[in-house]
Symmetry: C2
Subunit: 364 residues, 2 copies
């Protein structure tokens, strides 16, 4: 077992005492960093960047080298699993991802199967390589997070064939042919569970399930078509030998109304977007799970003084991090490509500085 | 005072007993209707359609003639008020609305003023004309709803200069120069209040404030930058002579976490999007306000049997409409242009048929 120079992030996820609130940022290895853009230019394309363990390692480390962040997250694409299913992922200039063979008909659905994990070997290789790159004098600087899209979020892309404004195709399937969608989701849940346990076997020390599109579902549909399958993933991970100690973070963007049900999945932590009141979320579920979030990424467009003020507001909203509570500071969504890099430095410093008072033992 | 053939909608908003649950649909006069597209083709453009009282009257009546809906809503554009402020509204083919002169600098903001309501005369003329067109044998078929965008939602368009994916410009102003944004919002609140009271004077029998973009705000920002200004509008309407009896509906898309604060504005009814559990919303605020919503518009892509099932599910979620409760059935957002018109007929029939059992007096 490798020793960690900084285990604050893992301790917070386990709701153990820490000296300060750890912080990392969704999409922290991304286009707001000039060094990321330079590596991407060398790689030639986003897919070439994501599918090459050398490049993936390089960009994963970039934000860790620049800022005193408390965790690294595997650089990868959210659509690796459906790509491995043979749907034909491609990225067109100026557009989002597209699948050449979306899953829409009864025959498409019948054909769908959990992919051979060998097709995702490049991801597991990247995990191992990043773990080694994180070593400094034999000690790992910060923990490494693995991730996957949730079964529902992957299904959105698979059925729509790409991004969507209204999710018309997948929602039509949901209401008109729920049996077909359930079959897709069952395959996705098994695939995501295998994918995340293989990331853990390769060295991921925490994993996060990104239910990026759960929030577009109706109240009655979220539990049945998103959460039930995320729960299957969580439970499969927890049954996996060697994963018992690996915290699972579940993040549903737009899921603030469903936190109690999300905590019922058995996840160790819930990600929150910026519309949820952190203190109220803690009161609802914070004795059962750690909470991760939830600064509006747009705050990072404002000057450092405003960033500091908003950080203090969130720390105050969470309140004293006493026994049984855990808070990981993060944005409520991925960092924008338009963020000035020096504002991220101000954010990390503000979290580290101002959170200490909320972790100090209460005065007797 | 004109007598109403069907006052079910107004009674439900006032939480008075009704025989069934009234229903209307956001954007019910819209592109899913072939007759709407025919009128729009004659008008030549969306703005020509919206700014001509004859055309506006014609399309407002189209869904009322086709379906037994319980209310009509003024056909108009959400950006009439900033257009009257001189920002230069235009619609480009294949794109959303754009303002030629967005409000971004200190000088832009200083220049902003409540527009002369004469510039919006065409809207008030349309209201009067629609009221007359709704008469059949001297009796008004259904009530007419007036509407406006909320101060915050208008500000989003005014600062961004059009639609946005990330609201980067207006949120940067919010966090970096809140003073400028507050000044815009104060002007907008006065303008919207004057606009809605003038619609009421012209004949609108209920008004709805569409806070379409309130849900993109962070928890701490929603109250300060959206709700406080919607509340000013609600209170100005309630102080207006002749508007005391006119119910105000406040709808924040993505506002399900803030219903208690929304009810505190004094609005008579809250609109809900489809992510909110109707029964839980009722338990939280349903003794203080009526509730309007909240079917996922995507349900209308599914066959009538599925539509009927989802209608029954929502009626069951709201529960028995007993003393002090009010429910107006609606979608959780505007109807999609891709909706088959016959599915709307199935929806209206399902609401009218199945809701009667929830309104019958309880068995003794």
């Amino acid at each position: 077992m490798t020793s960690l120079a900084n285990d604050t992030f893992l301790r917070a996820l386990r709701r153990q005492p820490t000296a300060y609130t750890p912080v990392w940022l969704m999409r922290q290895a991304g286009r707001y960093l000039p060094e990321y853009n330079a590596t991407r230019a060398r790689a030639g394309s986003f897919l070439a960047l994501a599918q090459n363990p050398d490049f993936a390692t390089e960009v994963t480390l970039q934000p860790i080298d620049r800022y005193p962040l408390d965790a690294a997250i595997l650089f990868s694409d959210i659509l690796t699993v459906p790509d491995a299913m043979g749907l034909g992922l491609r990225f067109e200039a100026g557009e989002g991802p597209k699948f050449e063979r979306p899953v829409r008909t009864e025959a498409d659905v019948a054909r769908l199967a959990v992919p051979d994990m060998d097709a995702l070997r490049y991801v597991f290789d990247a995990v191992g390589q990043i773990r080694r790159a994180l070593l400094r004098d034999g000690v790992q600087r910060v923990p490494l997070i693995g991730f996957s899209g949730s079964p529902w979020t992957l299904a959105c892309y698979m059925v729509e064939g790409g991004g969507s404004d209204d999710y018309r195709t997948v929602k039509t399937m949901l209401y008109a042919r729920p049996d077909l969608l359930h079959r897709i989701l069952a395959v996705n849940a098994d695939a995501v569970a295998q994918y995340l346990t293989a990331q853990i076997d390769a060295g991921a020390q925490a994993v996060m399930v990104f239910d990026s599109w759960g929030g577009v579902l109706a109240d009655g549909a979220f539990g049945e078509f998103s959460l039930a399958y995320s729960q299957r993933v969580v439970q499969a991970i927890q049954r996996h030998p060697g994963a018992a100690d690996v915290p699972v973070i579940l993040f549903t963007k737009g899921g603030g109304q469903w936190l109690e049900a999300m905590a019922d999945t058995g996840a160790d932590a819930l990600g929150l977007d910026w519309t949820t009141n952190l203190g109220q979320a803690r009161a609802r579920v914070g004795q059962r799970v750690a909470l991760q979030g939830n600064l509006d990424p747009a705050v990072l467009f404002a000057p450092p003084a405003a960033i500091e003020r908003e950080v203090q507001r969130l720390l105050h909203s969470f309140g004293r991090v006493d026994a049984g509570a855990g808070h990981v500071f993060n944005l409520g969504h991925g960092i924008s490509q338009f963020t000035p890099p020096e504002h991220v430095a101000a954010l990390v410093e503000a979290v580290h500085t101002h959170s200490r008072a909320w972790h100090a033992p209460a005065q007797g």
